[in-house]
Symmetry: C2
Subunit: 171 residues, 2 copies
């Protein structure tokens, strides 16, 4: 099963694809990246570029499930509006593909990946690289997106008696 | 010139179509309505339904220009996130049609339609009905959307020496 995590930000939108095998659960890193929204362009153009890029990513990777970060908090109303615009487009793009969508909050993701909900970005990045045996550089946006996918795989696999993760495959 | 105003709300999204003739500026009411987002459905399904409905409205009315409310404020971060989701999808749907998009704040719209920025919803509704000679019931969401279109027509026609509005046609 291919799981695509998407971390919607108002300037950078990270994504990460992993493969979770069943019934013997193993996680493999497949790919990741980020879509950067040019602050110089009008908002509707930025959102259109985000939408087009997301549709391209989903068409290329053909995930079985998509995981998007749930957002409850923001520094201010202005930031919340900006994040809301991006997240609305991400949810729409995913929804239009017909692929099942799952949502987890940052707290749930950090608990699932690092072990506690107050972990910082560097810890998430480090743990994601360790869990999936990623040797190359990984932006924090991509790491957050991959962490969403890991959290989902982990949550789904809770029913299994002994989840063992092996981390070798990379494309 | 057909102008479509869209007032993005997190539960109800109003729209209103007017015709503004040039060079002798007159405004005519053409149509209006609102898209109601079912609170019972998952957010991504609501956003997809909003998107599909908006694309249908734009395809049917074929406006020359689209006007969308600019939002700076919200009661809380939670409300701002919710409004942002809707507005992101509205901006995307409009942008994908390739029709020029214009944005005005509620303050600018109230100033243009009622004459002062602190007018309430009832005053906007009343003035919109008077300006366009609308005899039937008009929801405040639709009135706000039509007010956006009037504001745009008015702002564009500021260069004209004496804007006179005649308000008879209705479909």
């Amino acid at each position: 099963m291919r799981i695509l995590g998407i971390d919607p930000g108002s300037i950078k939108c990270g994504y990460g694809l992993i493969e979770a095998t069943t019934p013997n659960p193993s996680l493999f890193y497949l790919s990741s990246g980020r879509i950067i929204l040019s602050a110089r362009k009008p908002l509707h153009i930025r959102l259109q570029e985000l939408y087009t890029s997301l549709i391209d990513v989903i068409s290329e990777y053909k995930p079985d499930e998509i995981v998007i970060e749930k957002i409850f908090f923001a520094k201010s109303v202005r930031v919340a509006l900006s994040l809301g615009h991006t997240r609305g487009v991400v949810l729409l793009a995913a929804s239009l593909t017909g692929i099942p969508i799952y949502e987890y909050s940052a707290l749930e993701v950090k608990k699932a990946v690092v072990g506690y909900g107050r972990a910082d970005k560097n810890q998430v990045q480090k743990l994601v690289k360790e869990i999936l045996n990623i040797k190359h550089l990984l932006s924090s946006d991509s790491a957050d997106a991959i962490a969403l996918a890991i959290c989902h795989a982990n949550t789904k696999q809770i029913q299994h008696p002994s989840p063992i993760y092996r981390f070798t495959k990379q494309i």
